[in-house]
């Protein structure tokens, strides 16, 4: 038993090393000068140089990218979760002809990843005058998040006992009142899960904003990181500081919502 655990710990250390070293390279590299990095790429900072981080953190560009990403992600998440939970309610607590057909239609969306549809989407958004507009990114992202939102929410809402609904209706609540006052609060765990998934998807998405935005003041964080790297190829230290700071929101969010994220991803697989 002791020997087997040793193997486990060795594997664990190897995994941590592989994962963490590139991240440390970025974070620590930001505390060095480009000259130091060029002469010894794998060296440690000494003494710590704060200029790179200071310059990035006080630049308008960085905060604008952050703001753009946040705005788009909030709109996309809100749209997907509000419309998705309404649809999931209809598909789980009403009996009507064609219910399964509607549900299948939405689940089909799981097979249409946003990446595949981006070029036609671009043309369609141009037609709708939504280029260079945050909505031009947020609305399609919400649309493509609907399937997974509905697929997670429907069984959850379905599982809430019918007696609760009967009791609410007996007490004089309308069906929509039951949805708003009882079902939604009870669905909170599932709602958080789908919100996290929609938010992260939007936050990290690259291809659609790449096509929709030409003006760099509209760029989102992923676009900004790539652009910053290609514009400052001679200043590695600053690129590293910029990249390090741009990782913070995603990693923080992940630490706060890790359970939901993992639960959401694995929940849809477990059966």
């Amino acid at each position: 038993m002791a020997r087997r655990n040793t193997v486990g710990y060795l594997a664990a250390f190897a995994v941590i090393g592989m994962t963490v070293v590139p991240l440390l390279f970025v974070v620590l590299g930001g505390f060095r000068t480009t000259a130091q990095i060029n002469s010894s790429p794998a060296g440690l900072p000494g003494p710590f140089v704060w200029d790179n981080y200071f310059e990035v953190a006080t630049s308008v560009q960085f905060w604008r990218l952050l703001g753009n990403s946040a705005l788009i992600a909030v709109i996309a998440t809100t749209l997907a979760v509000v419309l998705g939970s309404m649809a999931a309610f209809a598909l789980s607590r009403y009996a009507f002809k064609g219910r399964e057909a509607f549900y299948t239609l939405f689940t089909l969306g799981l097979l249409f990843p946003l990446g595949v549809a981006t070029l036609p989407l671009y043309l369609w958004l141009r037609e709708l005058n939504l280029l260079e507009n945050p909505l031009g990114v947020a609305i399609p992202e919400a649309a493509f998040s609907l399937p997974v939102t509905i697929v997670i929410l429907r069984p959850f809402m379905h599982a809430i006992p019918g007696e609760l609904e009967d009791a609410a209706l007996l007490d004089g609540a309308a069906k929509l009142g039951f949805f708003w006052r009882i079902l939604l609060p009870l669905s909170r765990p599932a709602l958080i899960t789908v919100s996290v998934l929609a938010f992260v998807t939007s936050w990290n998405f690259y291809l659609l904003p790449l096509l929709v935005f030409n003006d760099s003041t509209n760029f989102t964080l992923p676009l900004g990181v790539a652009m910053f790297q290609s514009e400052h190829t001679q200043d590695t230290a600053k690129v590293l500081a910029f990249t390090a700071l741009s990782m913070i929101p995603a990693l923080t969010f992940f630490v706060l919502a890790e359970r939901r994220m993992v639960g959401g991803l694995t929940g849809s697989v477990k059966g």
Partner: protein, 324 residues
């Protein structure tokens, strides 16, 4: 608000399933329909307007030669499709996507299973470990691409480390060597996505009852036999879903490649998606680009259908409905 007041019943009245009077019956039939329309229409409009229509429209554009401006007049039938399939670069791109997909299944799957089995033991700091393994998955592909681009620079971090441990002979032009670039990209993809597989499998392992392992051990099965004949079969559904997600992801690979190599050098790392953006968008060949989009879409769709039909059939019910 008015109608809500009218249909609100006193607590003693029968529930809506058994309406008493004729008038109430008509209203109670109309009202659920209005509610349904109110609940379903917005989501349907969003879904049809921004998922189904663009894909349909792409099929239409793909039959024309069109630079993206002015009316569609130059109908070319299926020429765009023929051109795409007969071009070396696109054939190469399909090949690259397939190589990545096959490598993912052959390399990442055993690696994920092995790591998940090891990490499933009672180790100290297991929660922390899981978070670390999963962290790269949360970063965007753009950030991942920039990190590795800098680490893989000639004479950069990776080269320095290899020299430092006496493996200087292994140093390569990681991203500039035509025969190597695809495999370098695959390593980066593995770094980013291995945690996802490990987390999925760890969750799957939670579903393997300890009694089954104990029973197998009591019957004299070795650790390897228990894993092979008890644990792995029970992980089947998780593994099948992982393969599905992994292949679909490999077929659409874009961000990493676009930022790290732009499909180069000399198209050695072009994927279907980078080809699509390069032609459709950068060169204003929107008709042709749409045809490529349709091809990419059909490849994903056909794979998904076949996979659902033959591999996932037993699991789909669970996969689509069993969220917790």
């Amino acid at each position: 608000m008015m109608s809500a007041a009218i249909t609100t019943r006193p607590p003693t009245a029968p529930v809506p399933h058994a309406p008493a009077a004729g008038g109430t019956r008509r209203r109670s039939r109309l009202r659920p329909r209005l509610e349904l329309a109110f609940l379903l229409t917005p989501a349907l409009l969003l879904f049809i307007g921004f998922v189904l229509i663009p894909i349909g429209v792409a099929g239409y554009y793909s039959l024309y030669s069109w630079n993206g401006f002015g009316p569609l007049t130059d109908f070319v039938g299926l020429d765009n499709y023929v051109d795409a399939f007969s071009g070396d670069v696109f054939q190469g791109a399909i090949g690259h996507n397939l190589i990545i997909a096959v490598l993912s299944v052959v390399v990442q799957l055993p690696l994920s299973i092995g790591l998940a089995l090891l990490l499933n033991r009672k180790l100290r700091g297991r929660t922390f470990l899981r978070m670390v393994v999963f962290a790269p998955y949360v970063l965007s592909e753009a950030v991942t691409a920039v990190i590795w681009l800098l680490m893989l620079q000639p004479g950069g971090f990776v080269d320095e480390i290899l020299r430092g441990v006496g493996l200087g002979g292994l140093v390569q032009l990681w991203l500039a060597d035509q025969s190597l670039v695809l495999y370098t990209l695959f390593v980066v993809i593995t770094w980013k996505y291995i945690g996802f597989g490990v987390i999925l499998l760890l969750a799957g392992l939670q579903g393997v009852p300890a009694e089954l392992r104990e029973a197998a051990a009591l019957d004299g099965a070795s650790a390897w036999q228990t894993t092979r004949h008890v644990v792995l079969p029970l992980l089947g559904p998780t593994i099948r879903i992982w393969i599905f997600l992994s292949v679909i992801g490999s077929l659409q690979l874009f961000d990493l490649v676009w930022i790290m190599t732009l499909g180069g050098p000399a198209n050695a790392s072009t994927t279907m998606a980078t080809y699509l953006v390069d032609h459709g968008f950068k060169r204003y060949e929107f008709g042709f680009g749409s045809a490529v989009a349709v091809i990419l879409f059909i490849i994903c769709f056909v794979f998904a259908l076949f996979y659902q039909r033959f591999a996932l059939r037993r699991d789909t019910a669970g996969a689509l409905t069993g969220a917790r």
